[in-house]
Point group: C2
Chain length 416, copies 2
């Protein structure tokens, strides 16, 4: 097993000003590579703190990935400290200097001494090209262990990893093969899911791990197989996925890298159906869930955010009497909304939301979290009442997920 | 100075399955308390790794906040390990046991041995009540240093901190007074802002720090004063804020804990104005930005997501000729959209968006990121062309921020 440690350098993380997303991104990549991440460390931009962290990391890990502290405004403390740690002089890297000179010339900006210093690196280091910034990456080796220093700016770090580091690590270390399979489920809670697949899960071989990754009423089941034979491990993981599918298939909307929004879009495209939304409590979020996907104009025609009753009446054709007798949050109103938007925007499908998202507006009869959703098409209208326990924003998000799932179920003819 | 270290325990973080938001939340709270966070550490749920981390933390810090590893499914490794570290027996905490028994009885669920074990704690620890979960917090002291163990579930941890830990730390340590003042700006980039206030920033006294916190074309300027006299430091920070304001006031939408969406809502409420949105490229996101705020139904009436040209024509009254001659992404169309939604929904203000969010759909004349926004009220219509360089989602987010800012500027009569 190859072990790794991630060392993040920067006061902005220790003060809580930014979230350490780099550590998560690097952890995911290393895990996918078959490297075991043992430790995350964050220290401030101070020489002794960095030296101590490097010493500890070298004892614990085979691979030490270091981010941060390479910007010119921070006096390059990470670079100098690495030179000290590896007992190395700093040298000017002529290739990087030429690149920087060209960069500044192109922008018509003067190059000052601080900029030139970005082209110096410890003599023992190998420079790694950074396509997106002025600070290069650096690769160090000692006693079979590898240290990589990268900028803290996420997209520069990610680019460096993908351009160089992941491949170099694959070459340097004997890593097992890893095969992942992700099964995306929706509208079933983690505990229910776990109960339903418990027997299958208990019978998984030890080299295939299962992770539950829940987010907004969607649970991703990630199967990870580890072994020395790639074809065998792929086959085993796929076979396990096929075994579990019949137990949960009504809730499965896709595999591997897909989102619920993309899956619904693909379904609508396949069936050549168009959709429009009538949104009261979700107030545009269902529309956003469609329109955030590139190419959604092929199936999403538009929608009405019907926050006031006047809009429900004038734009959606909801009857005044319906609102007067049953209220805006009712089965009668939601059905008229879904049917009304389908008619007004001339689409195959109309969906609607109306409810009390909170924190105010609840009554004894209709407490906060009472939300109606509906789906209308040429075959009829289906409505569903939700009772959600969350805060305003999460009530909006969950309702949106359940509207997308309602489309999925109706379009595919799935009864749950 | 009092130093702290945050120790997070859990494989799910090292595997990259979840983001370590606890470390950021705790860092922010400790920084606000006047404690200096020196180190973040994350280790796996293994005894030796935890013991080593505790040893290092005790050498480096006065306060060690520990999260994770307290759930029943993980065999309480954190708790047992803390008992070992402090050389303490485990004892049953009768008060917590009674609470657990009542909890399970109320839910009609049987209480198994694993559940009972959640009521045992190391004898040397003081139990801290956890109002939201079954695992209590634990407070340890040794040689003037404090260790606090809390569950990893964010809302339980945050509740424990607010109920107990922050106050106890205030009592235990002599902490300086801290005063923060946040100035929220919009529609000015960090670099421009920094240039504009450089002289003022350079003249700040050393005990007042400035942080730039940029997010989606909004930059929060956070002034932090540290001192032994609370009244004096408050006065100094406020005086510095008053000095910088004239340099940037056209871009300032609020102070301290407010969001742009809330600030715009407050403005509309103050002026008794209602608003409606006509959204093409933002596809509901501007509406969502209004409706995610509780109470927004007092000023947000509704909107039209006009993704197709038919909806622009039928629901918004955009002329067919306008679309034919100038296209959907044009000054002529955007003005008709804003005016049309204002009329259709009978509001004081109408705003509109139409553009090419990407990644497809760009032309030489109208490249990706070409986006028009407009504002219409009784006094006339203002339109603005944007040229954004981002990916689809960020183009949508930035456009939304700039629409909100356009409302702010028009309603307040600010010319930039």
């Amino acid at each position: 097993m190859t072990f790794a440690e991630i060392l993040t350098i920067g006061d902005e993380i220790l003060y809580g000003q930014i979230l350490n997303t780099n550590a998560q991104w690097l952890s995911t990549e290393l895990t996918n590579l078959g490297v075991r991440v043992k430790h995350h460390t964050t220290v401030s931009d101070q020489e002794q703190a960095i030296l101590d962290a490097l010493t500890h990391a070298e004892q614990r890990a085979d691979i030490v990935l270091i981010t941060g502290g390479l910007g010119p405004t921070k006096d390059d403390i990470t670079k100098k400290t690495l030179a000290k740690y590896f007992d190395s002089d700093m040298v000017m890297h002529e290739g990087w200097l030429a690149k920087l000179e060209a960069y500044f010339a192109k922008r018509g900006r003067p190059m000052v001494e601080t900029n030139r210093l970005q082209a110096t690196i410890p003599k023992v280091a190998t420079l790694l090209d950074n396509r997106l910034g002025t600070a290069p990456g650096m690769w160090f080796e000692r006693g079979g262990k590898v240290f990589v220093s990268m900028p803290g700016i996420p997209h520069e770090m990610e680019c460096l990893m993908q351009d160089h580091v992941l491949n170099l690590l694959r070459q340097q270390f004997t890593l097992p093969f890893i095969h992942h399979k992700v099964i995306h489920t929706v509208a079933i809670g983690e505990a229910f899911l776990a109960e339903r697949i418990a027997h299958w899960e208990d019978a998984l071989p030890p080299h295939i791990r299962l992770a539950y990754l829940p987010h907004l009423f969607q649970v991703r089941l990630r199967l990870t197989g580890i072994g020395q034979d790639l074809a065998a491990i792929q086959q085993e993981v796929e076979a396990e996925a096929q075994k579990v599918l019949p137990l949960i298939e009504k809730h499965v909307f896709g595999f591997d890298n897909i989102t619920l929004e993309e899956a619904i879009g693909n379904l609508l495209l396949e069936q050549g159906k168009t959709v429009a939304t009538a949104e009261s409590c979700t107030g545009g979020y269902v529309g956003h869930s469609f329109t955030k996907i590139a190419g959604s104009s092929r199936y999403f025609i538009g929608g009405i955010m019907a926050y006031s009753n006047e809009v429900k009446i004038n734009q959606l054709g909801v009857k005044k009497e319906t609102l007067a007798v049953h209220g805006a949050v009712s089965e009668e109103t939601i059905r008229e909304m879904a049917e009304g938007v389908r008619k007004a925007l001339n689409t195959d499908i109309g969906v609607a939301t109306s409810g009390i998202a909170g924190p105010d507006g609840g009554t004894a009869e209709k407490p906060i979290g009472t939300i109606w959703i509906a789906y209308a098409d040429e075959n009829g209208t289906h409505s569903q009442k939700l009772q959600l326990p969350f805060d305003r924003l999460r009530n909006i998000y969950f309702t949106t997920v359940l509207v997308l799932d309602l489309i999925r179920r109706r379009v595919q003819g799935i009864e749950i």
